[in-house]
């Protein structure tokens, strides 16, 4: 059979039955197994309407099936706009955007961090915020009659150190540092 299949037939032969439990243990992923594939999430998802790569219901099904590599390495998990539309409506309380966060967290540990998110994480480590507050910025603030803000916040980097996030950011695919 295999030899006669056309290349574009998506045949899956290897599944990881533990993946769904792994996701359910991750903060935010707890309710994933409640999903009964009703499609409410995708029906109301503005991202799914515009970008065929993204379909929250399908992603959840892929997790339940155990397509671990495909899900974690795919950039589609980074496409959730976390608008919580589906979160409010999901009849099974799957809390989809939180599930997506759980998946992204696992992906990061496997070295699949999306570059945009890596950049943000690094900026925050450096400045304690997304945007650096330099002298110029503070000058402008004082001109406007607003209080000055200290440059940087070293405790943020300390937190990264405690949680091991610095190590994670330097991980390669496969999860090795």
């Amino acid at each position: 059979m295999e030899s006669v299949r056309k290349k574009d037939v998506p045949v899956v032969t290897v599944l990881d039955p533990k993946f769904k439990y792994e996701v359910a243990r991750e903060p935010g992923g707890e309710n994933i197994k409640y999903c009964f594939q009703c499609g409410t999430c995708t029906s109301g998802c503005k991202v799914a309407e515009l970008d065929s790569k993204y379909n929250p219901r399908k992603i959840i099904k892929m997790v339940i099936l155990g397509m671990r590599e495909r899900v974690l390495s795919g950039d589609f998990i980074w496409l959730c706009a976390t608008c919580y539309t589906c979160h409010e409506r999901c009849p099974q309380d799957v809390r989809i955007p939180e599930v997506m966060n759980a998946l992204k967290n696992i992906a990061v540990r496997e070295g699949y961090i999306h570059p945009a998110f890596r950049a943000q994480a690094e900026l925050i480590a450096g400045h304690g915020r997304l945007y650096e507050i330099d002298e110029l910025a503070n000058e402008k603030r004082t001109d406007w009659g607003l209080t000055e803000i200290p440059q940087g916040c070293p405790e943020v980097a300390e937190i990264y150190g405690i949680t091991g996030l610095f190590d994670l950011l330097s991980r390669e695919v496969g999860g090795k540092t």
């Binding site: 409640y34 009964f36 499609g39 409410t40 995708t42 029906s43 109301g44 409506r89 009849p91």
Partner: protein
């Protein structure tokens, strides 16, 4: 009575039986260890373990032991006494022992089932329970049962198809039956339906003859426009207080000519037509109503609200209008009660994303029944409410308010913070069981009226289990109804009143962006309003879903945990008409069995009052939830007296009495103390 009272005097000789219940108990609890732990307890004459204690072999073993070891007390460690206490008490009686010398330890529900993940602790708990049961058994006293009378009459509460059917079965058996209905007419929801699946018979055409039969049956008395206020007593002898609202129209005089209606100046929304049409302040809910008498709606009648009008009285030639009617309370005594108060449709305003209540062309399935019914507001012409045009594209959305864990949408403060609308708008987690077929039927009816109409059904799963149901669903597909797997997130209204639905079609993998003239929401079935209070009045429990709890989910589906109270129809759980009628039959049979008895034995569980100690303080009288203990004046002053038939043996009086004048017969202080002491012993 067998079960000699002289048992009391003898030294206790206790037989202890530890049940395996197959693997139900033995799979978790180490039964042999429990058996050994009981062997040397004081008073124990024999200990055994049994695979199935309730089986014939198990029971025979006990009977033999009673003879051989001259047992005078028995402890059985098995399942809940609710399941088998009766079985084993009967066994004791047959073996010549007083049935109240039995004590059960529940090591299945309380040990192996709840602690299935911790066998060691479960075993320890089982040992503790057995030890404490033996301690109590040593102090058990034989008790004499009294007999209570049984009134051969039944009350059915709720006059939907379930209540009607139950009443007819009972009436047919010659049992006097009271049918209490809160609305002016019996009929329930079935009276509102147009046709019924899967055979498409006209609903009223099949219901109305039954309603007439009820009215004509000499054994049935209809108490319409009535509510149950209070229920006292127990199986065989319930006293039910029923409050009858005034109709202001004499049922016997009114011939239904309708002269009054023509002249009544007040028009209001017609709730029978789901507020899509209007009626007068004096009205009959629908032409086939039973009783076939008019009623004046006191919230809207001009005379009753403003003191001026009485036009109806002037035009009525039969003198049937009686404005001096008032609330009447009647007390009715019956031997058994059947509760058949049905359901309430889910109010989809709790899911505002679907637009019900905001968009006129979004309706519910019950609205649809009225809209397509020849007696409905449009005389059977399918017209959408927004602009009375004929809808050419109709969508149905399934599971509205059902199969929803409700965490997202329950309890919002709608209306700018004026408070949540309560239970009827909170979605429910269960499947409402009939709405798939209701939609299949309604979609079919659209096609029947307008074969060129486009009909789409958005569903999660189609559930069509039932005789002829799958075939009906197939017929619908054949007619061209399109079933779409995928639940929409939202309905949007367009300027022309049409409705846009964007959804994922799971099967084709496409996002569908479709526009419809009308959308029908398949609303779920939820417990009827006021069920909580009614249940409380009768001490009935509700299951987690809010419906009434049956006696046993498999074996006693038409009974309740309270002897003499039975269930029929949707009040137990959503179901269709045939199932409601079948359950009504079962409930009627069960009630008839009760009523056929000459007398009923009453468990001697109530209080014994030591008159020397009783100071007549009335504390027990005030606290007893069943009015079963009253202080009376005797020649020795005021003394408490127990009213045995009303007493449920709850023990409140015993616990409350400050002079310890009250002893509960079967739960004496010394028995309970021994039990507690034993359980706390460290072994």
């Amino acid at each position: 009575m067998p079960g000699m009272l002289q048992d009391a005097g003898r030294e206790p000789r206790i037989g202890v039986y530890i049940c395996h219940c197959g693997l139900n108990i033995a799979g978790v609890v180490d039964v042999e260890a429990v058996r050994e732990s009981a062997r040397f307890l004081q008073g124990v004459a024999v200990v055994r373990d049994n695979r199935y204690t309730c089986s014939e072999v198990g029971q025979k073993g006990i009977a033999d032991d009673i003879k051989e070891f001259k047992l005078n007390r028995v402890v059985i460690a098995s399942c809940s006494p609710r399941l088998h206490e009766k079985t084993f008490r009967t066994l004791m009686e047959k073996s010549g022992l007083n049935p109240h010398l039995l004590e059960m330890a529940n090591i299945r529900e309380h040990c192996s089932w709840v602690h299935y993940d911790d066998p060691v602790a479960a075993t320890q708990k089982a040992k503790d329970l057995v030890r404490s049961s033996v301690a109590r058994a040593r102090l058990l006293q034989p008790l004499l049962r009294t007999k209570g009378q049984v009134l051969p009459e039944v009350m059915v509460i709720g006059g939907g198809v379930a209540g009607i059917s139950a009443a007819l079965y009972l009436g047919g058996m010659g049992i006097k039956t009271y049918l209490v209905e809160k609305e002016p007419s019996i009929g329930g929801h079935m009276a509102m339906l147009d046709k019924t699946f899967p055979t498409l018979d006209c609903s009223l055409c099949i219901l109305s003859p039954k309603m007439v039969e009820v009215a004509e049956c000499e054994n049935i008395k209809i108490l319409s426009y009535s509510q149950v206020e209070k229920v006292e007593g127990q199986v065989g002898n319930f006293r039910v207080q029923v409050r009858r609202k005034p109709r202001y129209v004499n049922e016997d005089k009114c011939v239904g000519c309708g002269d009054c209606v023509a002249k009544c100046p007040v028009k209001v929304n017609d709730e029978f037509n789901r507020n899509m049409g209007t009626r007068k302040a004096i009205y009959i809910p629908f032409p086939q109503a039973i009783p076939p008498a008019y009623v004046i709606d006191d919230e809207n009648c001009r005379y009753l609200t403003q003191g001026k009008c009485k036009i109806c009285q002037a035009v009525c030639q039969r003198g049937a209008i009686e404005f001096d009617q008032t609330d009447q309370t009647e007390t009715i005594e019956v031997g058994a009660i059947i509760v058949a108060t049905g359901f309430e449709p889910y109010d989809p305003r709790g899911l505002p994303e679907y637009g019900y209540g905001r968009f006129p062309n979004v309706i519910t399935s019950l609205d649809f029944e009225r809209l397509i019914c020849a007696d409905g507001p449009t005389y059977g012409k399918l017209k959408r409410p927004g602009d009375s045009t004929v809808p050419k594209r109709v969508a149905f959305i399934q599971c509205v308010g059902s199969r929803d864990q409700a965490t997202g949408c329950a309890g919002y403060r709608l209306d700018g913070g004026t408070g949540s609308r309560g239970e009827s708008t909170d979605p429910k987690p269960y499947c409402s069981r009939v709405c798939c077929m209701v939609t299949a039927k309604q979609a079919f009816m659209v096609k029947e009226k307008h074969p060129d109409a486009e009909v789409y059904v958005y569903y999660i799963d189609m559930r069509t289990a039932g005789k002829g149901f799958e075939e009906f669903y197939q017929r619908g597909r054949h007619e061209g109804i399109v079933f779409l797997r995928g639940r929409p997130g939202e309905v949007e209204e367009k300027e022309d009143g049409c409705l846009r639905i964007i959804s994922e079609d799971l099967d084709s993998g496409c996002i569908l962006d479709l526009t419809f003239d009308m959308v029908v929401l398949a609303q779920g079935l939820i417990p009827p309003g006021g069920l909580g209070e009614l249940a409380q009045k009768m001490n009935l429990s509700r299951s987690e879903d809010g419906f009434l709890m049956e006696g046993h989910p498999k074996l006693r589906p038409a009974e309740t945990a309270i002897d003499g109270i039975y269930l029929a129809g949707c009040v137990q759980f959503p179901k269709d008409i045939p199932d409601s009628v079948a359950q009504a039959g079962a409930a009627a049979a069960a009630a008839a069995v009760t009523c056929s008895k000459e007398s009923i034995e009453i468990d001697p569980l109530g209080p014994v009052i030591d008159e020397a100690l009783c100071i007549g303080c009335r504390l027990c009288e005030v606290l007893c939830p069943y009015g079963a203990i009253k202080v009376e004046f005797t020649d020795k002053g005021p003394k408490a007296k127990s009213i045995e038939v009303a007493c449920k043996g709850c023990g409140v009086c015993g616990a409350s009495c400050s002079t310890k004048a009250i002893t509960m017969k079967h739960y004496t202080d010394s028995q309970l103390a021994a039990q507690v002491k034993a359980i706390l012993e460290v072994v």
